[in-house]
């Protein structure tokens, strides 16, 4: 309980102790100031039958009574929302695994996606795939978050404003008519490097219909030097497959072993990709020293099955002018 302190009234008999210089002098200015600063009876609401303290007491009591009936003091009502129709193949409480792949510039990383109720929650390397043996890298592990990215596009947008699918289709139809009348002149695609067969097929179809179009592949980090070196050394473009086996000393000039990028081949996977199950941090080098083979591919060094037979095309920005 809060205590209310009051100065005791000045004694009428005996000694009178002054409380300050103003009290001692007791000048009319001081008395005026005192009355202004501490008006007598300020704690009471004068001219009313309720004192200030009574008013607060009453208000707090009414607030407390109001709280008795407040429903918001309970936990909010939550709902369990099951599916209306079952997600195919799922068993409640069990994971469902799908084999999939994450496309990379020079190949793809074979993956197993763990899904719950049709929602992917984890990506792991596919241990049955000979290319990686179940290894993944940090980018693959983090890519699961892309699926739940709040900025992921969910609707059709035109000039920053929500649009409709029909509007988009109308726009594309108009564009197609315009381009086919000019045989694709003025149309250019700026794309990233990939060895997706689907994209190559679509590109072929486009080129057939729109022969004047330009197809430009740009990567900020093309390994132009390595492919030039391979071409200079062997006379033509080819995929490197370095066999580093049972060598006591190895040197790597202008390139680090760790620069062998993911998704290129099994090989790079062995070095670069790490999986907590198979390769822990710091184990790569000892593994190499024990004579594991290390392969490295050249420019198009993805899985060779995907790329073999493809002609060497204009596929970088510098040669696409």
């Amino acid at each position: 309980m809060k205590r209310v302190f009051h100065h005791p009234p000045a004694p009428t008999t005996g000694k009178h102790y002054w409380r300050g210089l103003g009290d001692y002098s007791n000048s009319p200015e001081f008395r005026q100031w005192l009355e202004r600063e501490f008006p007598a009876g300020a704690a009471e609401l004068k001219g009313d039958e309720w004192s200030r303290r009574d008013f607060l007491k009453l208000m707090s009591a009414s607030m407390a009574l109001a709280g008795v009936g407040l429903t918001s003091c309970r936990r909010p009502e939550l709902h369990l929302v099951p599916f209306t129709k079952n997600v195919e193949w799922t068993i409640p409480g069990k994971f469902l695994y799908y084999a999939t792949a994450m496309p990379r510039r020079n190949g793809a990383i074979p993956l197993i996606a763990t899904t719950v109720d049709g929602r992917p929650i984890k990506l792991d390397g596919n241990p049955l795939h000979p290319a990686t043996g179940g290894a993944t890298d940090t980018f693959t592990q983090a890519s699961i978050l892309d699926l739940y990215d709040p900025t992921r596009s969910k609707r059709f947008v035109r000039n920053g404003k929500t649009s409709k699918r029909e509007d988009f289709e109308a726009y594309v139809g108009e564009l197609r008519n315009k381009l086919s009348s000019s045989h694709g002149d003025g149309l250019a695609f700026l794309v990233q490097e990939t060895n997706s067969p689907t994209r190559e097929r679509l590109r072929g179809e486009l080129e057939k219909n729109l022969p004047g179009m330009r197809w430009c592949v740009y990567e900020p980090l093309l390994d132009q030097e390595m492919s030039s070196a391979v071409e200079a050394a062997f006379g033509r473009w080819c995929a490197r497959d370095s066999q580093i086996r049972s060598r006591r000393y190895r040197s790597c000039i202008g390139q680090r072993f760790s620069r062998l990028r993911p998704g290129r081949s099994r090989v790079s996977a062995r070095i670069y990709l790490s999986s907590p199950r198979q390769y822990t941090q710091g184990q790569h080098e000892p593994a190499l020293r024990r004579g594991k083979s290390v392969h490295a591919h050249g420019r198009d060094g993805g899985p060779s099955a995907t790329l073999s037979g493809q002609p060497d095309r204009c596929d970088n920005a510098s040669s696409c002018s």
Partner: protein, 168 residues
């Protein structure tokens, strides 16, 4: 019995209710869900927080009845929170499971009473505790403590009371 407690989806309900009681007004929310494709919003009464691991199978397959945690659901017109589901309440049973165990074929019988047990049949099936002073099969009735202790020893039940038993 699975570890996971699942709420069946509308499709499962409608497997039968397109034929059985298909005009029952109580099933209107389910039919509405099936027709519109919107899920039924079941009110979540027994909420186990994410940091608690709970395995239904481990309990139900070892003689803990639905009744022990969910109360007399068969007599509730509206399901309510019958037990607190607090940690102290969980531990009450984990420390003394003999007060709650029952034969596994009575787990789903929410009206089961210890008096329903026939001592001779019970002892023939589950035996009796090591240090039981008397022959249980000769008794007229068995108490919950006697039934529970028998089952506890029979199934070798030793519930975890350490933190990581549930907070894994």
């Amino acid at each position: 019995m699975a570890a996971h407690s699942n709420v069946p989806n509308t499709q499962t309900c409608m497997n039968c209710h397109t034929q059985v009681q298909k005009d029952n007004p109580k099933l209107e929310p389910v039919r509405a869900s099936w027709n519109t494709g919107n899920p039924v919003e079941w009110v979540w009464i027994y909420r186990t927080v994410d940091y608690v691991y709970y395995n239904h199978a481990a309990h139900v397959n070892r003689g803990i009845s639905c009744f022990s945690c969910h109360g007399p659901v068969n007599h509730m017109s509206t399901v309510y929170l019958a037990k607190p589901h607090s940690m102290a309440w969980c531990l009450e049973c984990h420390r003394h499971p003999e007060n709650f165990l029952r034969p596994e074929d009575q787990v789903f019988n929410l009206d089961w009473k210890p008096d329903d047990v026939k001592p001779a049949e019970f002892v023939a099936k589950y035996g009796q505790p090591q240090d039981a002073g008397e022959d249980f099969s000769k008794k007229q009735k068995l108490s919950q403590a006697e039934i529970g202790q028998t089952l506890k020893e029979h199934w070798n039940i030793n519930p975890p009371t350490n933190c990581q038993g549930c907070h894994r």
